[in-house]
């Protein structure tokens, strides 16, 4: 069946892209009738073999809408160490990595975030595609190597195959355009020492699951694979993403400024195209 051929090709593509982050692409062994718990156990075993995932809402907390208004554009928020903003940046409980998993999606690992050790990121909000009713998990790794998990549930369907790309308003910015928006300090919700910004990149993030009706071939997957945000020499965060990230990947985050006054974004997609943007962020406009 073409569907499975398409998915197999997609899995292979994702496998290649995942080697760097150390994860094998998952053609998940999910039986059609597997319960949600069994599905998660299988994913967790594959992603974090022989490791305990503890629950601690002060380390990692996942925020999702209960029901997705638009399955192709579901806002997801990750809160890291957010109950204690004064936690020293080098405290062993500081989160250094977050894996976002949408259990029932064809490519369940939606994104892996690496957090800069000097940036103190306590919030990242992005938008994802949700293919069917699913549990969502965020697994955080702290500086001391421990793993913590937060679980949520989203009711939605059809996000991964929704037409995209050419539904963009005619005359919109070209593919690869990056915008950096600094949020004015009076509107930043987290603690005053942190700044907040939005990094967005114009990109169809094609899933490879849409069929060209004329040729009956699948439009090849082309999605933003890596995106890195730095201030001067310091990493704020980096993300390795997949097809579960919505069209026009969008990341809103807070961070502790290092005073460099500038933010740099570097991104690359699966076609090998690279994108970059330098932005002056302080003072915010």
């Amino acid at each position: 069946m073409r569907g499975w051929q398409g998915l197999a090709a997609l899995a292979a593509t994702f496998a290649l892209s995942c080697v760097a982050s150390g994860y094998l692409a998952l053609a998940p062994a999910r039986a059609a009738n597997a319960s949600a718990d069994e599905t998660w156990r299988g994913l967790a075993d594959a992603l974090f073999p022989h490791q305990t995932l503890s629950e601690d809402g002060t380390i990692i907390k996942l925020g999702t809408p209960l029901s997705a208004e638009d399955a192709a554009l579901v806002p997801v928020t990750l809160h890291m160490n957010y109950t204690d903003p004064n936690l020293p940046l080098n405290d062993p409980r500081r989160v250094k990595k977050v894996t976002l998993v949408i259990d029932q999606n064809p490519a369940p690992v939606a994104a892996v975030f690496e957090l800069g050790s000097k940036a103190g990121v306590s919030k990242i909000e992005t938008r994802v595609r949700v293919n069917q009713n699913t549990k969502v998990h965020a697994v955080a790794e702290t500086m001391d190597g421990k793993l913590y998990v937060s679980e949520s549930f989203v009711a939605a369907a059809g996000g991964c195959s929704a037409p995209g790309g050419d539904t963009a308003t005619a005359g919109g910015p070209p593919l690869g355009t990056i915008r950096v928006r600094a949020i004015k300090p009076e509107y930043v919700q987290s603690d005053a020492r942190r700044k907040e910004a939005v990094v967005m990149i114009k990109h169809p993030n094609n899933t490879g699951m849409q069929m060209n009706q004329a040729t009956h071939l699948y439009i090849p997957a082309r999605y933003v694979e890596t995106l890195r945000v730095t201030q001067g020499d310091d990493l704020i965060f980096a993300v390795t993403g997949g097809i579960s990230i919505s069209e026009d990947p969008n990341f809103r985050f807070d961070y502790v400024s290092n005073g460099s006054g500038e933010m740099k974004v570097d991104a690359a997609d699966t076609k090998g195209t690279k994108f970059a943007k330098n932005a002056a962020v302080e003072p915010a406009m």
Binding site: P75, A157, G158, P163, A168, E196, K202
Partner: protein, 319 residues
């Protein structure tokens, strides 16, 4: 000679009667009640669907449908949210005319407008739609069937076949169909409600079928571009229609007054969204609060407004 002619005539009449008789398709046992339709202009018929959600209770009958009868043939406009709705529409056509259906036009890809298509598949029937419609149906069809099978019950959804158009309308050129001394003009729009919206204008009576480019009572649903939709409203208003059938809500309404309510909604919603974006409010807050001043004017507002706000926020962020 006279006797043979009489016999021939009798046999011919019998033949015509048999051909004309609308025998139920094999496999159908229960008689199908025709969908109620109203002749809103000579030869133009429309079905007023209830303004409600698509679920087991509504049985998929939530979108306005219609058909236009020419001297030679009939054009159908949308087929409903279940196979049985398409079948009931077909029955309604047959109670009104013996002329064959030649065209089935889908105004866009949403399930409440296309799920009844298979009821009309027959030799001589051409399915018509926006050039983007086949792709949209291929991309979303399986997910629609899976979702609605769950929401509406398997009985209503099993047997639905997705039938894409073969006659495509491009945005560069209208398609004009002749139903026999009756021209209907099909216009394909840039992304607005969806990325495959088509409107149908009956030149004889100046009746305009807008599909979901016009909503009344039912809150508008933004599935492609609110900016594109607002930009195109003046062009839509310029169509010299005497009456309009919207995709949802009261049929046979004056034009262009029918546009006023949704124009106000889009204006208020986008104003609110621009404010949220400028103030740095995030998409979740916007989904909860944008457009709320319009809530009392629309049905199903709580179901669709947060979605419209989410989609609109993501679109306006790039402005």
């Amino acid at each position: 000679m006279a006797k043979r002619r009489t016999l021939l005539t009798a046999l011919t009449l019998l033949g015509i009667t048999l051909i004309g008789a609308q025998c139920p398709a094999s496999g159908e046992n229960a008689p199908i009640a025709p969908l109620p339709v109203r002749e809103i202009a000579p030869g133009v018929y429309a079905h007023q669907a209830p303004v409600t959600a698509m679920n087991a209770a509504s049985g998929g009958d939530i979108a306005n449908l219609g058909f236009i009868v020419g001297d030679d043939a009939v054009a159908v406009i949308d087929t409903g949210g279940a196979l049985v709705i398409g079948e009931r529409l077909k029955k309604a056509i047959e109670t009104v005319t013996h002329k064959p259906v030649r065209y089935v036009i889908n105004t866009h890809e949403h399930p409440d407008h296309i799920f009844g298509n298979a009821a009309f598949v027959a030799p001589g029937v051409t399915f018509v739609g926006h050039k983007n419609l086949p792709r949209a149906m291929a991309a979303r069809g399986p997910a629609y069937l899976a979702t609605w099978r769950r929401v509406m019950t398997p009985a209503l959804v099993d047997g639905i076949k997705l039938v894409p158009p073969t006659l495509l309308v491009g945005t560069d050129k209208d398609v004009r169909l002749d139903l026999g001394h009756r021209i209907i003009d099909l216009h394909a729009w840039p992304p607005m409600h969806t990325d495959c919206d088509v409107t149908i204008f009956d030149e004889k009576t100046a009746t305009l079928f807008t599909g979901d480019l016009v909503f009344l009572q039912h809150v508008p649903v933004i599935d492609a571009s609110v900016i594109g939709w607002m930009k195109a409203l003046p062009a839509l208003a310029k169509i010299p229609a005497k009456r309009v059938v919207p995709g949802h809500g009261t049929i046979d309404v004056d034009w262009p007054q029918a546009l006023a309510a949704e124009k106000t909604y889009f204006t208020k919603l986008t104003q609110d969204l621009r404010g949220f974006i400028a103030r740095g409010a995030d998409i979740n807050q916007a989904a909860k609060e944008a457009g709320q001043s319009e809530a009392s004017k629309w049905q199903l507002f709580g179901v669709y407004n947060p979605r419209n706000a989410t989609a609109g926020y993501a679109e306006l962020e790039w402005q």
